[in-house]
């Protein structure tokens, strides 16, 4: 059974986090949330028990960031959600940057959505197709083949745009890890309105 980690910080966009996590679980993927400490907590080693999302929902993480336990030897997918403050915390974390590179180097998947795509830049990934929330396009455009597609798959890097693209983003990750049939098996009982383009 594949294994996925979804990063979580204070200020993470809780819809992007929740839609991705829940959809991966529905596909039978072992999924864990991993709390990334805000820099101000890092130095004093205080671990808050919950992450406060960008719109105030408090989510208790399954685990805390650890370079070894979170490595590509143990998991198949690393997901970085958006939310301006949460994405800033995650994208500037040196352990996360190292994990992003090592997942891709080892043939594992990395997903970034919304402002989470900033981690592609901070992790110094090479020039390649990528998308993000429009609000951080200017920061990414100089260094990537910037696309406005809802979901962009570039090798093992999967990027997406915002809460409104979180379902097709999550279903694309399911398809990459578990195949097209599983994607449809997960999608159907969610009861999307007729005409939904994913």
């Amino acid at each position: 059974m594949p294994s996925a980690l979804v990063l979580l910080a204070d200020g993470t966009e809780e819809m992007e986090f929740t839609i991705t996590y829940d959809t991966l679980v529905r596909a039978g993927i072992t999924t864990q949330s991993v709390y990334v400490l805000t820099p101000s907590f890092g130095s004093t080693n205080i671990s808050p028990p919950v992450a406060k999302g960008s719109r105030g929902i408090n989510i208790m993480p399954d685990s805390y960031l650890d370079a070894t336990a979170c490595g590509p030897g143990n998991h198949d997918l690393l997901v970085i959600p958006g939310g301006a403050t949460g994405a800033a915390t995650i994208a500037t974390n040196a352990t996360v940057q190292q994990l992003v590179r090592s997942y891709l180097k080892n043939g594992k998947y990395v997903g970034m959505i919304c402002a989470g795509s900033l981690a592609a830049h901070t992790s110094k990934l090479p020039f390649q197709p990528l998308t993000s929330h429009p609000s951080v396009k200017a920061e990414l455009e100089p260094n990537f083949d910037y696309s406005e597609d809802s979901v962009v798959v570039s090798g093992n890097l999967v990027t997406s745009r915002g809460p409104g693209t979180a379902f097709p983003f999550a279903l694309t990750l399911v398809e990459l890890l578990c195949g097209k049939e599983k994607r449809e098996e997960v999608r159907a009982p969610m009861v999307f309105p007729p005409g939904t383009p994913w």
Copy 2:
């Protein structure tokens, strides 16, 4: 500023909960989650600190169910999310049933999505248009004018089908409480894919 309560229990579908809560907050609606105790906890008065969602995400509620504080004198909207186990806990709670009736009687809104629509039946609401997740259609069809529309507005009762209809459900609630312009103001930055039918 309008005020909304979103109910939460062990087994609540976390996407339906989170999409609704987050979207209401984006519209400037004062939004609180309210934990409904599972019956086995009720008698011994144990209050777990977090609700475990249907796919394992742990969410810390903002408050606990209280008939007076949660009444229609203090709030404009009461939302009941799905998730089979969570919806069963919420729909069979006598305080919730009383709140559903008093919100509607006082001209306030009630939203139910997925298996959450079972609360329309347990609250003994009169025969009227309604939808739900297909998995609980058989329980509702004898007592309601059952529809397969993605969102059904029947007076002040708004019902919907599942995680896949949670965005149009939440945006409909925003429109009813804050108007069409606010709905569009909230929808646009979510970056739905072109062709999304809401």
